[in-house]
Amino acid sequence: MTAPRSEGTEDILIVDDNPANLRLLSQMLTQRGHSVRAVTSGPRALASAQMSRPNLILLDIKMPEMNGYEVCERLKADAQTRDVPVIFISALDELEDKVRAFAVGAVDYITKPFHAEEVVARVETHLALRRLLQQLEDANEKMTRELALAGKVQVSFLPGKLPHIPGWDLAVALKPARETSGDFYDVHLRADGKLALLVADVVDKGVGAALYMALSWALLRAYAAEYPDQPELVMEAINQRILVDTSGDQFLSAFYGVLDPRTGHLNYANAGHYPPYILSKGNDTTPGLLSRTGMLLGVLPEEKWSQASVQLAPGEVLVLYTDGILDAEDTAGEFFGQERLLSTLQANLDGSAQRIQQALLEAVAEFTQGAEQSDDIALVVAVRQQPARTSE
């Protein structure tokens, strides 16, 4: 078996209190094209590694002043040298010595007397592993940066500032489970004074869902302008377009409604989305549900949606949400669910839209107790305020 080929000059630090060993190891590794440093003690090894981080360290164990175990522990405790692979090279060949070496962070252990070919083979193997790990870390860092940028671009699609509408109080939230989101919302005051409201959820998460979200958001804005008071036709047009333009293996649920703030009248279409709630402040009546008026978008090309309408009275609260709230899991695997959603909303109905939204997100966070967020969360709360009472 031959040693893996070195990809170039690597910087190797050899630590041994025996100058003869240092000479031999230095010569072997220099012949392989590496840049070699050699020191005879633990303190000198630490000073050398701190001055310039080597790519690999060959470390003797039995040395005066400071033994190799302590040197390795100190290297692993220092952020600058933590990731440098350490190979112990020692005459100690008992199992407990080797176990201790790996326990303090060594990647390998070579017993003396060593064979030159073995040392070279192990050194080259660990240098190759280190290079691969570095490449992986670099690629991961690059991907994380790009995802963060994609997340920023996504956020820029969302309305930056909510419209101020007399008699109405609005709040929105988006909490992606990862860097990007498959959920989105839109709250858009049209030129005719009506308010377009949307919450949608791509049935997936991650980068694919984020790209699908961007396409769906753009289509919705375009078709909402084309069919201003016909949400069902907006759904139909989006459905046909995404089936033509994509491979058809992703779907989304969406609730899209047009609210007349002066009358509280809401026309909507619900494409397979969890029915939004209408709740009344100071009233224990059963919450209203804005049921589905058709199936998910992106499934069947000839599908139709119907339109429905509802009246929001003063004191009523409209809550649009995505399943990231219902499916939030605690550490025992239990879901937040509809009951907790409703009870949290009802307990906070007397607050502002912002307060209701915050209370719901806080309840979810408290419930999950730090468990990793499993799905994106989008939330829109619209409160129709009671008219101010005039004194008689």
């Binding site: 630090l13 025996n18 100058p19 240092l22 230095s26 840049s35 070699v36 440093r37 050699a38 020191v39 005879t40 003690s41 000198r44 090894a45 000073a47 050398s48 001055m51 310039s52 039995k62 005459a91 100690l92 060949d93 017993t111 003396k112 007397p113």
Partner: protein
């Protein structure tokens, strides 16, 4: 324990397995006298290093701290052309990996520089 072994490894194994205790007598210091290394012409290593440009001492200090023999020898070569005895002494120390002695002498030369009148 495999051959060749070092004395201290053998003694440590005997201590461990036989419960033996060894009493050691310290050897008198040999190579490094209190006053440091002395060159054949009677100068101390530190004093001789004080005569070379500070930039060279700095380079030698860095190369020695790194343990980079090639870089050490590159500086030593320049020193040898200017001061043969000093160059030879440094070469011997570098070949024997006596980095502590070189670093100590450089630091002493630096301290002497600091004390000398401006």
């Amino acid at each position: 324990m495999r051959k060749p072994f070092r004395d201290q490894d053998l003694l440590a194994a005997l201590e461990k397995h036989l419960g033996a205790r060894f009493v050691y007598q310290e050897e008198p210091p040999a190579a490094a006298p209190k006053e440091g290394i002395t060159l054949p012409d009677g100068r101390s290593l530190a004093a001789a290093l004080g005569t070379i440009p500070p930039q060279w001492r700095e380079e030698l200090h860095k190369a020695t701290t790194l343990g980079n023999l090639q870089e050490i020898l590159a500086v030593v070569q320049r020193v040898r052309e200017r001061d043969f005895a000093l160059g030879q002494a440094l070469q011997r120390l570098a070949d024997g990996f006596a980095h502590d002695l070189i670093l100590k002498a450089i630091e002493q030369a630096g301290e002497a520089d600091d004390r000398s009148p401006q």
